[in-house]
Symmetry: C2
Subunit: 465 residues, 2 copies
Amino acid sequence: MTNESIQPAPAFLSAIQSLFGKRARLDAADLLVYGYDNSRRETTPHAVCFAQNHSEVRALVQLCAEYEVPLTTRGLGSGTTGAAVPINGGVVLSTERFAGLVKVDPENRLAIVEPGITNAVLQEALAKHGFFWPPDPTSAAYSTVGGNLACNAAGPRAIKYGTPRDNTLGLIAVTGEGKTIKTGVCTSKGVVGYDLTRLLVGSEGTLAIITQATLRIVPLPESSRLLRAVYGSLQGATSAVANIMAQPETPSALEFMDPVAVSLVRDYAEAGLPDRAAAVLLIEVDGNKSGIEQAVKCITAAAANEDLVEIRAAENEVETAALWTCRKSLSPALRKIAPKKINEDVVVPVTRLTELVSGLQELSAQYGVQIVSFGHAGNGNLHVNLLGNPSAQGELQRMETCLQELFSLVLGLDGTLSGEHGIGLEKRQYVSMEIEPNAMQLMQQIKLQFDPKNILNPGKLFPDP
Amino acid sequence: MTNESIQPAPAFLSAIQSLFGKRARLDAADLLVYGYDNSRRETTPHAVCFAQNHSEVRALVQLCAEYEVPLTTRGLGSGTTGAAVPINGGVVLSTERFAGLVKVDPENRLAIVEPGITNAVLQEALAKHGFFWPPDPTSAAYSTVGGNLACNAAGPRAIKYGTPRDNTLGLIAVTGEGKTIKTGVCTSKGVVGYDLTRLLVGSEGTLAIITQATLRIVPLPESSRLLRAVYGSLQGATSAVANIMAQPETPSALEFMDPVAVSLVRDYAEAGLPDRAAAVLLIEVDGNKSGIEQAVKCITAAAANEDLVEIRAAENEVETAALWTCRKSLSPALRKIAPKKINEDVVVPVTRLTELVSGLQELSAQYGVQIVSFGHAGNGNLHVNLLGNPSAQGELQRMETCLQELFSLVLGLDGTLSGEHGIGLEKRQYVSMEIEPNAMQLMQQIKLQFDPKNILNPGKLFPDP
């Protein structure tokens, strides 16, 4: 991608250098590294700054506002939509050195963090107190909490424990005018004024830059069990999902794999999947030790249908870990089987999953594009991957048309375009398919209130004008 | 309260009469009934309309916008903050005839409702499918879901299952410009655009009028047990709350009663409370049958301290129901023991509850005002009631000063002014104690985007300019 953005004034660049010293970088080598994310798009910013605290963020935003320089905030760049790619140049603010764990408070069930802390470091600290923060994206080891909040990134556990939006109590942030705002509360209830907290979560750094978050934390369950249910057909698996969700034992994860995903899993020596396996569900239940067998029993009953080939519980921690590794390695593994991967995260009501996977099969046949889907079926949230070879004649175009059809299919099933990746650059041209003009207009007006000069992550989330 | 509002133009009144026919009321007797809520404030609107569907609401808002007539939406008037009192006159829109249950969909764990349905009618319909909607305000029998959403009204179950904000997936609403907006999704995940859904929940009818809500519903637990823990001191009870919240078994309710509340409960013949009872916790746990005894055991262990006099589980459903009746009758019972009741719903972190109740004792002594507190201790959310006789010399003034001190106390303990009642009229002069100017300004700017002519519930939620 060519960066056609305007070079910031020398006075601006001097100002950020006096503000950040060596933590402001202007040289080409450094800039290159901070110009891309996991969308594989890239462009080059004019400067990268490593803020270490709230005042530095505020001072930087004020400078950017004064000089009207675009400011793109990033965690560690694991996002898949290009939300952290500085398409308009300007400054990239990296939060990687603003990564403190301010407080863990188990009795009040909260943790206070700075934005750059990784999800995994936070979880490790919380586990010592017997707690966790529900969002568990596959990228947990190398994605930041700030990034998780910006994209509302969830993961398997969201089915029982919710997304970042459901697990954030309050925020401190800096608006596009360089003003500090404090949103929300540090308690589990609060209804004073409008809910700015949840407005900021999922806003991809377009409204304000989060400098501190008060997170809702949850006690680790005493025990958990992982079941693997193997189905002879895709539809057997998807219809079981709806059945499982209609009964009282809410799984703590309910993951789906389609035939291609199953074949990737087969390559793991230990998988031991029956030959007839066309689709697999991984189902986790958790809770206290006394109740867990009953939960397993209820889930097993709900998962049964005429297409069920086999259902069994992992027998020990090693087997459990192996199953999760299979599941979590699917996304990176796909990179290896095709040069080009369009990785979506569409959501449909769980009763429509069967129609979704049938529709995907038809689209795949119609456009000659290989489609692999797997993911958080209990939320109706599938990672639908379109695989192809961009050097093959017309393949990219076919993939794009197929994608557009996929989105129409999803919306026709009362679904949504994104469950946890967000919009960024990748999906902005499709947003208007889902959000109607009145709501869109309000969102854009809200953006202007927070960021009147449109300096915060410009060109993201909204459709091209 | 005198209504100094402007009489709407005759053309406006004719227009709403042709729109609503007999469902528009202009006569004094009818207007009187729709001029108050449970805050006991009252004023008289110029008209009351009973809309039955979305188009009627939209047409009414468009008329009000055209003629700049204030529009106050109400459910059944059980709110305690005056949010439904039409202080600027104009039109009251009652949702009581717009009360359909559009859909119950257990597999997708959602229900779609119109705003005027009562919480109780909804729960009854959901229970037939083995589900419930988490919010359970004491007013459930006579409060509407629309009102619950407008105020983010919760109740005891919020400790485990969350508030309306946590249990709403999407909305259809009409903005102050008379435009229809569709917010959110009908799935448990979704991150396309800004979260307008949670912005509307808790906004007290000041941003848009909700005409349809897609609610997240939850399976009814298989079993539950209610424990009553009696403490010899206030502090014994409040410190037990923090202990209970620090262990893994999250109660489905954790309710507190202070000594005055305990003495009111004593009047119930069946209460059988030990003489030394100074404070009581009601603790409910729920889950599957196999796990429930373990949950009871963990809670019992966490509740124990040197001030614990007695803890026991209700032995049967009759006893359970009796205990809940005691708890839920406290709020109305207080009306009987004092002519004037200021009923607050402050929240503090659970570790600060002990300081809160000590502070309340000091304030009570200092101002000579009787203070009774009880409520949702697991959320740190206490209903603090200031009781007095307004005809006694200087008593009202003392109560007001005491209230101001109470709010300072709460904010000093990192708390919030309201957990579930909202602001309405009653607390608007105190909002600035909690919300700082930058956030307040953004909220007011957001209000203007939704409602540029300020016709939707004007004079509520925000402080007086």
